[in-house]
């Protein structure tokens, strides 16, 4: 069934995001095991994270510190005493038969990131990793399943937003802001493919103008912002179609397959677990002291949203440019270290940073290349002052990134400096002589024919000529 324009407009999507962030602490949430980064299976384990009889959890102070930083970054209200609960269910990736998480008194509530309100921020532990042998790839129907407990017990911060988002693109945009913010804070690798940043979306739709919410579904674990956006869009369409067909949206947990675009049900409402939450008796409450809060506050760097605002305001950068620099902290840092009072236009430098530099370094930190910030600034200034052409500037940048060096020396060495008036005079004369048709047309008033002459001069000088200067010289020679 096709959806008409009217039907499409008739509903408003309501979207909330649930985020799980693996913290980059030295050790696990409740034991002294080092975190695992691809080590051989079950080498980062101890009796505690394997759930041996008699073992007890002890809260990781660094995880609390990071969680407080996150809560402060979102301007949350921090609970004076938050407590852990046990979330009970049986699964082989959960060695104790319960996950230690927070429930009715989370670490922090009522915050904001960008335009989205944050409902809550809490601490918990990650599950272990299951690998299923056999065709199904899932535990049911697997020939055998093995468990790698390296990941089990990794500290997680769960962040839940209010249902403030109204379309998939904004949801993805929020995700990017969150990722950039957490990355800047250095509390997580926030890598979606590796699972250190995981996003679920709660999606419902309601007639435009309605203030109550429709029945929501939960889209699980989309591992890129693109998939998050596509998944939400697909689910919004599915819900619209369901309602248009006279059906009802059922509360359920769903999986989006990015390769086929299909949405499948993982769990219906009837299959929902009763987790039998109760306060974890093995742990004492988290009661942040003033010292802990001060320490977390002091550890907060300037966050991307604030940085973008500052770059836009203080350096007069376009909003998009400022945001690009702010969202990639390493690039932003490089940019700001290249800025100098006599270093030419911040705007030019910004354009070269986000267009030319990032094209050459990909995701690498510019600080790890051979390019010196001051050399970069000088290069951009030379282009800006037309000492060299943009094309020459790009050629020099290639060298600076891979080998380093001084831009002026490279220009000299490669002979890429601007052609002077004397050198150009002969070349312009030759170009005029070689293109009589064009000369004829210019004389006849067809101004655009001048391009052919300029082009010839550019070819001859390998781009070292300044187009404006060449045009002026042509006009002088042809008396127009």
């Amino acid at each position: 069934m096709t959806i008409t324009e009217a039907e499409t407009r008739a509903y408003e999507p309501v979207i909330g995001i649930e985020i799980h962030v693996q913290l980059k602490t030295r050790t696990k949430m409740f034991c002294a095991c080092a975190l695992s980064f691809g080590e051989a299976p079950n080498t980062r384990t101890c009796p505690v994270c394997l759930g041996h009889p008699g073992t007890l959890p002890v809260t990781n102070a660094e995880a609390v510190h990071f969680a407080l930083m996150i809560a402060l970054a979102f301007d949350c209200e921090i609970a004076p005493r938050s407590i852990f609960h046990r979330k009970n269910y049986f699964y082989p990736d959960l060695p104790k038969g319960y996950q230690i998480s927070q429930y009715d008194i989370p670490l922090a509530t009522a915050g904001r990131l960008g335009d989205v309100r944050i409902h809550r921020v809490h601490l918990e532990e990650d599950a272990a990793k299951l690998v299923h042998a056999g065709a199904s790839g899932r535990i049911h129907g697997a020939e055998s399943s093995v468990v790698d407990f390296n990941r089990g017990g990794t500290p997680l911060v769960e962040i839940v937003t209010e249902p403030d988002l109204r379309n998939a693109a904004d949801a993805a945009e929020f995700g990017r802001l969150l990722q950039a913010t957490l990355r800047r804070m250095g509390v997580s690798d926030v890598n979606m493919e590796e699972g250190s940043l995981r996003m679920d979306a709660n999606v419902s739709i309601r007639p435009v103008g309605e203030t109550t919410f429709g029945t929501k579904t939960e889209l699980k674990n989309m591992n890129s912002f693109r998939f998050l956006e596509r998944g939400i869009d697909a689910e919004i369409e599915r819900q619209k179609r369901t309602l248009a067909d006279g059906g009802e949206v059922e509360q359920s947990t769903l999986h989006f397959d990015p390769s086929s675009g299909a949405i499948t049900t993982l769990r219906s409402k009837e299959e929902a677990h009763d987790y039998r939450y109760f306060p974890e008796p093995d742990l004492v409450p988290i009661a942040p002291t003033e010292e802990m809060l001060d320490r977390a506050r002091e550890a907060l760097p300037e966050l991307p949203a604030a940085r973008a605002e500052r770059l836009e305001r203080d350096l007069d950068l376009p909003a998009d440019t400022a945001k690009l620099l702010a969202f990639r902290a390493d690039v932003g840092d490089f940019y700001e270290s290249a800025l100098s009072p006599d270093g030419g236009s911040p705007r030019n430098l910004a354009n070269w940073t986000i267009n030319e530099l990032t094209a050459r370094i990909g995701d690498a930190d510019p600080a790890t290349t051979k390019l010196e910030p001051k050399a970069f600034a000088r290069l951009v200034t030379m282009v800006g002052e037309k000492q060299i052409s943009a094309a020459a500037g790009r050629e020099i940048l290639d060298v600076l990134v891979s080998e380093g060096g001084d831009p002026a020396a490279l220009v000299e060495e490669k002979g890429l400096g601007r052609a002077g008036e004397d050198e150009l005079a002969a070349i312009v004369d030759r170009a005029l002589a070689d293109n009589p048709d064009a000369v004829e047309k210019i004389r006849a008033g067809k101004g655009q024919a001048v391009g052919a002459i300029v082009g010839a001069v550019m070819r001859d000088t390998k781009g070292r000529a300044d187009g404006g200067q060449v045009q002026r010289m042509i006009s002088e020679r042809l008396g127009r």
């Binding site: 009796p47 394997l50 759930g51 041996h52 009889p53 008699g54 073992t55 007890l56 959890p57 002890v58 809260t59 046990r86 009970n88 049986f90 082989p92 060695p95 104790k96 038969g97 319960y98 535990i139 049911h140 399943s145 468990v147 009763d274 039998r276 939450y277 109760f278 008796p281 093995d282 742990l283 004492v284």
Partner: protein, 464 residues
């Protein structure tokens, strides 16, 4: 010369070792032979090497994890499990010079009051082998009373140290919750479990508590006891006020009540003041306990799933049947009963009515004791409503069994220290008197118990 050891308290044996009258190895060997020949079913494992030690060796309840040593918490589901680490409390004992003599029998996962819920058979009471030793630390109590251990540790969740100590005629101390580390104690009910000594006399209990207690970075709920635990020396009780509770309770055996009254009369002879004290909500302790403890246990025992250690029953290879079959085969009836009660009490829709309500009762009981300790220094009650009962007598009636802990559960819920000392005999069997004090008042409780113990002059020698 070593034959004397049987008559000596652990502290006296330690003095002999210290004086060079006997070596640590000789003492260890003496007790190891006694333990190996124990005929009561008190031991599940006896040490096969001889590390000696500056203190006599200690019998350890099976649920304490000891590296490389079978530690099953009396359950078939952990049969053959040898932990990769040692409990903090046991490490403290070893560091203090008391090595592990053996692992003692117990009710499965500490759930029981007669030791009949062990997955490895019952324990007999050395006073009369047709009787239970009490539980759940029945093996530890029987070993000390029966002369196959100089002293022992157990755990107490609702009375599991004090009640078997009472039924076997020895001393049992449940310290304040948070005084002794729970790390390495296979958990029953985490907010209640506490490790403590079972000993011949009060001095031994103090000596052992001194080794056991202390802050532990591996247990966030363990803060230790401030100050040193002096060995008790009090001979008088002048100026101390004792509040008596429970002597008129229905179900209290008349002989037990009389024996306790006689002991309480001694308190007055020693200069102590005796008065009745009200604990208006303590009578609801059992009801609250049998919601809170099973609720916590239902989560604590979820890890026994056949995946990583212990028993794994295989059926058709399906995950659910692996769980079901393993837990069906591995757990005994009482454990299953409590897992079901606890699971139910935490279920959505029932949580407030059961778990929530039980926590409120617990808070009321805490307040009752707080109010009582504004009037008196100690609360005194019978430890158990009856003397040791016959093996099999209560196994068919869980509620009758649960009543064994009527007098001990309120102190567990309040987290306060309580000691059971022998008050005398009724029908030829030992009766325990319980003395409880405010949180972390162990030193005072031990001092008072010491003075009273001297006055009572109980002969801690069973008939066997």
């Amino acid at each position: 010369m070593t034959e004397d050891l049987l008559r000596l308290s652990a502290a006296a044996q330690a003095q002999r070792i210290d004086a060079g009258a006997v070596s640590g190895e000789e003492v260890f060997e003496f007790w190891r032979e006694r333990a190996a020949e124990d005929g009561l079913g008190a031991y599940l494992w006896v040490a096969d090497d001889n590390p000696g030690g500056s203190l006599p060796p200690v019998a350890v309840k099976d649920l304490f994890c000891v590296e490389g040593v079978p530690s099953s918490a009396g359950s078939r589901i952990l049969e053959g499990y040898r932990p990769p680490y040692t409990a903090t409390s046991v490490r403290n004992l070893i560091q203090g010079g008391a090595h592990v003599l053996g692992k003692t029998n117990q009710d499965e996962f500490a759930m029981g009051s007669s030791n009949e819920n062990s997955g490895y058979g019952p324990v007999e009471n050395p006073w009369d082998r047709a009787l239970v030793p009490g539980g759940s630390s029945g093996g530890s109590a029987a070993a000390v009373a029966g002369g196959s251990a100089p002293w022992a540790i157990g755990t107490d969740t609702g009375g599991s140290i004090r009640q078997p100590a009472a039924l076997c005629g020895i001393v049992g101390l449940k310290p304040t919750y948070g005084a002794v580390s729970r790390y390495g104690m296979i958990a029953f009910a985490s907010s209640l479990d506490q490790c403590g000594p079972l000993t011949r006399d009060v001095t031994d209990a103090a000596l052992m508590l001194r080794l056991l207690e202390g802050r532990d970075p591996c247990d966030s709920t363990c803060v230790g006891i401030e100050g040193d635990i002096a060995l008790p020396s009090a001979e008088r009780l002048d100026g101390l006020r004792f509040g008596v509770w429970g002597l008129d309770e229905e179900g209290l055996d008349a002989g037990v009540a009389d024996t306790c009254r006689a002991a309480i009369a001694r308190i007055e002879e020693l200069g102590g003041g005796v008065q009745d004290v009200e604990l208006p909500n303590a009578g609801h302790g059992l009801s609250a306990y049998y919601v809170i403890a099973p609720a916590e246990a239902s989560a604590n025992l979820a890890r026994y799933d056949g995946v990583r250690y212990g028993l794994r029953s295989t059926d058709n290879g399906d995950l659910t049947s692996l769980y079901e079959q393993t837990r069906h085969d591995g757990f005994g009836d009482e454990v299953k009963r409590r897992i079901m009660i606890g699971t139910y009490a935490l279920s959505s829709g029932y949580y407030d009515a059961y778990y929530g309500k039980a926590q409120k009762v617990r808070t009321r009981i805490v307040e009752d004791f707080r109010a009582a300790f504004e009037q008196v220094d100690f609360v005194v009650t019978p430890t158990s409503p009856t003397v040791a009962f016959k093996l099999g007598e209560r196994t068919a009636d869980p509620l009758a069994m649960y009543l064994s802990d009527y007098f001990t559960v309120p102190m567990s819920l309040a987290g306060i220290p309580a000691i059971s000392i022998p008050a005398g005999l009724s029908e030829g069997l030992p009766v325990g008197l319980q003395i409880a004090g405010p949180a972390f008042s162990e030193a005072k409780v031990l001092d008072a118990a010491h003075a009273l113990e001297r006055a009572i002059g109980f002969e801690g020698v069973p008939r066997t």
